[in-house]
């Protein structure tokens, strides 16, 4: 754990290689599923998608089914791995917690200049809710997709009632998947969340950002040698629970800090916006 905070690089490790691999495996196979699923509708030929270079296959339903199947193998296996691995490892950080909905609404209000963000742990409350929502969507898509696949391969005369349920749930949750994907990308594009995007590409986010916005996460890491330069004050307040403030001390050897000018500017701008008055 001593490697989590890299003072000199102004970074804090947010995701391990495994988590990033899981995320990108599920995300990329999900995108392929989304596209090949769309092409299972009779739309590619009608709307001229087949004329786009490299997309001639999109009008062939058997080929797009093969692509859909291939992506499904990766998507399902990665999803099941994620569920089992993190479930058994006892990692619960991304599961919704009591009060997440209320806090999420408060956080969303801050995007419109109303109120101030509370200090966060590793994940934002809306991230936890979105995770649960996406998990439900993926679970329904996988279950209904397995029924449809079973019908295609082994049982074309499967109960029509079951096929209707599986098909329509697959279609409806496909739409929800698309909406959730758009919301996911939209959330990353929101200015306060942008520093988090780096984490899923490189595994680490800026330490000054984490100190500013995720002090509970840093505090939860416990005492670390590299955390000594960070002064964390925890003040017990009788009515509102613990309030945690983290003040970033000057980083030793700041001449070597890899934070770019653009990032500095962004951080300054962010701090200015969040300064009351």
């Amino acid at each position: 754990m001593s490697q989590l905070i890299l003072e000199e690089k102004n970074r804090v490790v947010r995701h391990g290689v495994l988590e990033m691999a899981e995320h990108w495996t599920i995300a990329l196979s999900g995108l392929v599923l989304l596209l090949s699923g769309l092409f299972e509708l009779p739309m590619a030929a009608r709307y001229g998608i087949t004329t786009i270079p490299g997309f001639a296959w999109s009008g062939d339903f058997i080929t797009s089914l093969s692509v859909h199947y291939a992506a499904s193998v990766v998507f399902i296996a990665a999803s099941m791995f994620h569920l089992l691995y993190h479930g058994l490892a006892g990692e619960r950080e991304l599961l919704p917690q009591k009060g997440d909905l209320k806090t999420s609404i408060a956080v969303i209000k801050t995007f419109f200049g109303k109120g101030e963000e509370p200090p966060f742990g590793k994940y934002l409350p809306e991230q936890r809710l979105a995770y649960a929502g996406m998990a439900v969507i993926i679970a329904v898509l996988i279950l209904s997709g397995l029924i449809k696949t079973c019908k295609n391969v082994f049982a074309p005369d499967l109960s029509h009632m079951l096929v209707l349920w599986a098909t329509w749930l697959h279609n409806i949750f496909f739409v929800l998947f698309v909406l959730a994907f758009i919301a996911h990308i939209g959330a990353i594009l929101l200015k306060p969340n942008r520093p988090l995007a780096r984490g899923i590409f490189t595994g680490a986010v800026r330490l000054d950002y984490a100190r500013h916005r995720h002090p509970l996460w840093l505090a939860g890491m416990g005492p670390q040698p590299s955390l000594l330069s960070t002064e964390i004050k925890i003040e017990e307040e009788s009515s509102e629970g613990p309030t945690i403030t983290a003040e970033a001390a000057p980083v030793a050897g700041s001449g070597e800090t890899p934070v770019s000018d653009a990032e500095d500017e962004e951080m300054k701008e962010q701090n200015q916006q969040e300064t009351p008055g």
């Binding site: 339903f61 791995f81 089992l84 997709g145 329509w168």
Partner: protein, 331 residues
């Protein structure tokens, strides 16, 4: 959800006089109860018997089908929405009398082909309709489950939920389903952007089958050229007949197998070569089931959860034991 047939057709069936005729012939000595149950059915089309009904304006099977399905399709919207961007409207509602090809209003027709076989010229009449495949891509790939294969073997399109995208026609090796624009649920959604009517094809007269009756075309044939019965029995009968006349079978292996077996004294390759396939006029070529190529990947999909679970368990146990070892060392 149990109701899957067009209510209009149901109403029509109650009043159709043709239904009185259907099921009255104890044909091929197949007991009536044989097709009343849930067992798999098949049909036999004996091309040595079919003569195209030369004494009739319209062959009996075609007339019976037209009669029993008459009124089953509502009149299309007027004007019919023009689909974007193809602008392709398919309207057969003003040509309902057409009987020399498949249309939404003509679900069976007779092909006439002159061939030279065995050193002599022969005229062969071939009733053509949906083959009711064993694993029909038209049904399994329907994005709305509007097309479904039932346990008795009937492959049926539900006109209430079909959007008329014609995917079923595209994946059918014989391009059997035919589109009627201006009808269907698509009119209530995005009529110019999504869908283009409903797809129509032979439904094996599944309503009649459920009542223990024969399909209209089979019951109407004056030469007993068509039969329906338990699949095993029909297959055995077809094999026997082909052997007896030194003939040929079509439909047993085509597209992975079907519920329609043709028996012909002339090789089907000869018949296919003499036919001139076109829209609504299918050929008789040997066809592989294209979806068979996806079955391997489909099985891999079904195995994927187990693969993920196994990897997850292995990974978790490795992680937990690493954690234990780590904490042990720490102590």
């Amino acid at each position: 959800m149990k109701k899957i047939m067009n209510p209009d057709r149901r109403r029509f069936l109650k009043t159709a006089t043709a239904s009185a005729v259907i099921g009255t012939t104890a044909w091929l000595n197949v007991p009536q109860k044989a097709w009343a149950g849930e067992g798999k059915l098949a049909t036999l089309i004996d091309l040595t018997r079919c003569d195209g009904c030369p004494d009739r304006e319209v062959p009996a099977c075609v007339a019976a089908c037209k009669g029993i399905k008459q009124g089953s399709l509502p009149e299309p919207a007027d004007p019919i929405p023009v689909p974007f961007p193809t602008r392709k409207v398919e309207d057969w509602s003003k040509k309902k009398e057409v009987s020399n090809r498949l249309t939404p209003y003509n679900r069976i027709y007779i092909q006439k082909v002159e061939v030279e076989s065995g050193g002599r010229k022969q005229i062969v009449f071939i009733p053509r309709r949906c083959m009711h495949c064993d694993n029909p891509a038209c049904a399994t790939l329907c994005p709305f489950a509007s097309n479904h294969k039932f346990e008795n073997g009937a492959v049926v399109i539900d006109p209430e939920t079909c959007f008329g995208g014609a995917k079923c026609k595209t994946v059918c090796p014989w391009e059997i389903p035919q589109r009627q624009s201006g009808i269907g649920i698509y009119l209530k959604v995005l009529p110019t952007l999504m869908g283009n009517g409903i797809m129509v094809k032979c439904d094996f007269c599944n309503d009649l089958l459920r009542e223990g009756k024969k399909p209209a075309c089979i019951g109407a044939c004056p030469r007993d050229a068509m039969a329906i019965g338990p699949r095993k029995e029909i297959f055995a009968r077809a094999e026997e007949l082909a052997k007896k006349i030194g003939g040929h079978l079509y439909g047993k292996t085509e597209n992975g197998g079907t519920a329609t077996l043709y028996v012909s004294p002339v090789p089907f390759t000869t018949l296919d070569a003499a036919l001139k396939p076109g829209p609504g006029q299918p050929g008789l070529r040997q066809v592989e089931r294209r979806m068979a190529g996806t079955d391997g990947l489909g099985k891999a999909v079904l195995a994927a959860p187990a693969l993920g679970v196994a990897a997850g368990l292995a990974g978790a146990f490795a992680f937990i034991s690493r954690r234990k070892n780590g904490s042990g060392k720490g102590e």
